[in-house]
Structure formats: C-alpha cells, structure tokens
Amino acid sequence: MSSSASGEQSLDILVVDDIADSRRSLADLVEGLGHRATLAADGDAALRAVQRQLPDVVLLDLLMPGLDGFEVTRRVRTLTADRWLPVIVISSLQGDEHFCRALRHGADDFLARPVNVELLDAKLRHYGSMLALQRRLAVASQRQRDIYDNLRDAVVTLDAAGHVRDLNLSACRAFGDGTPVGLIGAGCKAMLGEALDVLMQRKELNLRRGDGSTMPAELAVSEWFEDGHARYTFVVRDLTERRQVDRMKDEFLATVSHELRTPLTSIVGAIGLLASGAAGDMPEPARKLATVASRNAQRLGRLIDDLLDLTKIESDRLLLNLQPHRVGMLLAEAIAASQGHADRAQVRLEALVDSADALRQVRVDGDRFAQIMANLLSNAIKHAPPQSAVTVGLQVTSRRVRVTVRDRGPGLAAEFRSRMFEKFSQADGSDRRVPGGTGLGLYVTRLLVERMGGRISADSVVGPGAQFTVDWPDAALADSVHVLHLLHIDRDADALRRVAQWIGSAMPVLSLASLDEATAAGAADLEYVVLGDPVGQGSAEAFCAGMRRLAAYGSAVLYSDAVDVDFAQRMGMPWLRKSTASRADIERSIRQAAMQAHKAISP
C-alpha cells in the first residue's frame, strides 16, 4: 500500500480469475482506479502469490475449476492468520446464496458481475482506509510495546493464582534467558523465587534471577482487572546499584566519623585536662574559659554521633539486633552507665523497679536501648537541680512494659512539648541554664524507640519536673500471633464503608467518625492499627497525635486527600492518598503497620 501525492491510497490488488478476458478487464478497472494489479489464473496460483508477497486486497472469482473461490478464501485465511487480508468475492451467479456462503467461508465482501466501477472504487477506498487504520494501530501498539520493553525496570503481570500473564523484555532478561519462552504461564514462585502473597506484602526483597543469582529488588504493585479477573502488575527495580551506593555511603560515613573524631579526641582531651587542673592551677577566669571550651568540644562530639545515627536511621539502614532482654537488666546497666555523669552533676539516680517486673522481657537491640536510656538520663540529669533525684521507673501490664525517667527540674513548657521529638528542637531562650544539647538527641531517641516498636511521650508531672515515658511491647506478646483490629476514623461515611468492606475479611474493623467516639467506645483497650483522615477533625497535628495514642505501638496510617507527603513525614506516618489508593494499597499499608508492631494479622 502506498499513498499518492493527492493522499489517495494506491493498493496492491491480487486479481484471481480463470477466464483470461474477465481477469484482464477486472485488472484494467483496478488499474484505472490508480491501484496495482497482480494476476492469478487459478486458486493455486493465487495462494502462491499470497505467499510470495502479501497483497492489500484480493478480488476473487468464485467459480473456478480446481480450487474454487470458497476454498481459496478458506486457505487464504489460514495463510494470513496474523494479518487481515480483505477478500472480495466476485460472481455473475444470480441470487445471494453463494455470496452468503462465501462470507461464511471467511470472505469480507462481494461484487456482482458485471462489476460496477463506482462500487468497486468505493469498496477499495473503504478497505484502503481500514487497512491504513489498522496499520496506524499496529504502529501505536508496537511503540507502546517498545517503550514497555525498553523500560529498565522489569514489569511482570501475574494473575490471582500467581501465574505470569505478561512480562516485558527487562523481565525476560532478568528472570529468564531474554525471551518470554517458558516464562508466560509460569508460576511466580518458580520464576522469581517468591509466592504472590509475599510479593504483595513486601516492598523490598531478594528475588532470584534467571541465572540463579540473587537480586535485591524494590517492588511496586498495582492491581487491575481484565474481564473481571484480578491482575497484579509488578514493577521490579533492581537495587543492586543502590545497595552498592549505600555501602559506599556507609564507608564514607565511617571514614568521616573517624576523621572528625580523631582531632576532636585531642581537643576534648587537652581542654578537659586543662579545665580539670591536671596541667597545673589556672587563674579562675582562665579555668572558666577552659570549662566553656571543654563543654562545647564534648557537645561537638555528641553532635557528630547524633548526625551519624540520624543519617543511618533516616535512610533506614540502621541494623537492629532485636533480641529478648530482661528489662531489669537493661535498666541496671543504663543507670550504671550514667552514674559518672550524675555524680559530676551531683544528681542522685534512683530506680523504682519491682523485682518481679524486672524479669519481664522486651524485644530490643540492647545497644540501642542503652543509647535511648543514656539520652533520656542525660537529658534528665541536665535539667535536674543539684542534690535532687532522677528516678527511673518500671510499670508493666499484660501487654506492655513501661519505662519512665523523671527529673525534678523546671518541667516542660507546653509549647515545647509539641515539638520536642522533632529534629533540631530545643527548649530555647527562657532556659539558658542548661546549654549543651544538640537538638537531635530526643529526635534520634524517638526514631530509635519507634524503629524497635516502642512509643515515647513526655509530660510535665504533678510537682516539679518532667517525665519521659517509653512503652515497649512485651516480648512474649510481640512474638505471638495476635488478633489486631483496624480502627478507622473518618468523617467520610463512604470511605468508612469502603474500607470496612475491603479489610473486614482480613481483620476486625471498627469504623468511627471521630477520635472522641473512639475514646468513648473504649478503643484504648484493644490493639489497633489506626487509619484516619484529619479532615473535619480540628487540628491535623493533634488528630495525628490522637491516632498515635490509640494505635498499638504507634502504628497509624494517614488516609486522606487533604494532606501531603511532607505532612505525613513530619507526623512520621505512612500516607495513602484517599482518591487513588486501591484496596491492595490499603491492605499492604495496614499489614506493614501491623508488622511494624511485631504483629501477625490472621488471614
């Protein structure tokens, strides 16, 4: 098929007729209309011509000796299964029956002899434009396929049974030998090394490549429907390079840490010795200056520690060695470690720990627990007046182990309390008595607590002082399978209904309009993952704080169109956009929140 300058399409037309005169006159008509004609004198010649070079249209005499038009039509259809070749049958027979029969055999159209040239022209134009349309669609489809195949990410579509329905070239290369042969229809467990439910739950995991090696991968899944059947399309990103960059970053951080701390060691040491008078007595003003320098050198050291910790925690590369530990042992070690600091500040460290409670176990990283306690104790000692006591308390219930650290200092200003666990927050201005914080300590502490499944809060207590409370899930409970509920708080009744329908089969769902209703319903007595939309709930920040309070170990998820990713990050909560989040998105988020709380949802 080609286009002339006027835009008219010139078609290659195969004219099949056993009678030479009819064949020639038909060819003349065709050529007169600006097309090219190829001639065939019988059915066999026609089929050979089709195989040699595919014409655009076949004009086919029905009545021929040997293979007749019906048989030729049928065979043309078989030969050109993957491409449409319009066949127009021509006959001088009276009546429509033979045309009907030809159409049943696969012909597209018919013309009666003698052929009306205008009708022939109209039909050829029609098929010309159909063929052009078909070609445009084929080009567009091929372009989509090329884009799809040239994605660097592997894209794999599975059905609900976990069988591969479709995959792109990157996926063929990653998980096969570069062709889809043997992969289409394969089970995902066989192809990727993981079952569908595991793929659905995990954002990052190791998959098996076609060559048997392992590939760290990030998965993004979308659920869609094809003729009512669920399809799961996974975009699989190879994280090998990113992991390498992470490793380099870790090495770089370790080097930076070493390079910063080496000169700091000399500075802290030399000034510390000066200030202590070890290098001889100094006049009081000089000693005072040396003390200032010493304190700030130490502060710089802590800042470096906090920054390095923060970089690791925020990028989620902190390795935690979670083991059951007796909480009494952890607290005793923490108090011993801070004793020197307390002595220097002339502050007493007290433990209010029941010996039976001390045997309870929490599932934490021992070193990081020590760091959390060191931060809280250092903070308390810093604010405690000389000769006062800092009290470490332990209260346990069936579900949680609560550790408190209380000082008798000036307490917490209300406006500071709301942002004290944020980055670079310090009680400022009014309280110049206790310099030396980095503004990162409590933020790092909160991140560490939450990363290990705990919750931290702070309150001014009755009487002077402040109290920090850390709740840990009991280790035995953390390991056991436990029925977790979903608490969904939303003013939007449709959303409540939708989520209850989606999630109700997986876990019990409590749907309520507001936090107050939740409190009234005694929600605090159950273990919840909380899903909520701050719209119509007053201050969004306060709403988030309320959600976190009700959630088991802080596992709350924002489900709203009214907030953005910055807000969610600030609140430290995962976020689902209500208008676009699918059922699978919600299930996955809740499952992750639940897993974060060391819980297993009953299926």
Binding site: A254, S257, T262, V268, S276, A278
Partner: protein, 134 residues
C-alpha cells in the same frame, strides 16, 4: 614475707596520631601516675613491648602499616605478651564494629573522644577484668 597484690603499673599506648599520644601521656602519666610508653605504630610497639613488659595495652584500631586487630594478633603470638589485657580505642564505634573487635579478643573498647580525666580510672577496671583471662 608477704607478696604485694599485683597492681597496674606499665601502660603501653599504640596510637598514630601525635596529639592524641600527647593527651594519653598526660592523662595516664602525669594525671594517672602510670609508667607510660607511647608508640606511633604497630611494628614499633611490637619491637618495644617485650622489653617494656606492659601490664596493659591501649591500641588504636585504624593505623597505617598495621591495624589494631593485626597488632593484637601479633601480640597473641608472642609468649610473654600473650596474656596482656588489651583495650582498643576506636573513633568509629558502630555497634557492628565494636562487636567484631571484641571477637578479636580485646578486653574492652574505649570510644573516642574519651575523657582524659576519668581514663586512668577506666583502664584500671579493664585491667582488673582482663588479667583474669587467659
């Protein structure tokens, strides 16, 4: 004749940073009253240690020529130095690293920056803890 209980007298410090060596000498020698020998590298320390006969060795981890763990391994090959309590000093102090250093057989870890005023007392605790071990 009664035998005086053993006490911590001679401390060897192996540290490539000259300023930190100065602080260590001051802290442990001038302030702590120990007999201190500071070496700038592992080979230097291995050469001097048999004659000095330290009761305790403080060993920097990251040094050119020989790393702290390499020096420790060499010390463990030397008869008279095999059982000397050895404490690593590290400026990295990632939990993973502390773990691996203790696996190397160190008595303890001192994290830099350390407090030079409390260091004389701190190493005494390590020494008491470490000398009981093979």
């Amino acid at each position: 004749m009664s035998v005086a209980p053993p006490s911590l007298k001679r401390v060897m410090c192996v540290e490539d940073d000259e300023d930190i060596r100065t602080v260590l000498e001051f802290s442990l020698g001038t302030l702590g009253g120990y007999e201190v020998m500071c070496c700038a590298s592992g080979p230097q320390a291995l050469a001097a240690a048999p004659a000095f006969a330290p009761d305790l060795i403080l060993l920097d981890v990251m040094m050119p020529l020989m790393s702290g763990p390499e020096v420790l391994a060499a010390l463990r090959q030397t008869d008279r130095l095999r059982n000397v309590p050895t404490v690593f000093m590290t400026a990295k102090a990632m939990p993973e690293e502390v773990e691996s250093l203790l696996v190397h057989g160190a008595t303890g870890i001192i994290v830099k920056p350390f407090d030079p005023v409390t260091l004389p007392r701190d190493i005494l605790i390590y020494w008491e803890h470490g000398r009981g071990r093979p």
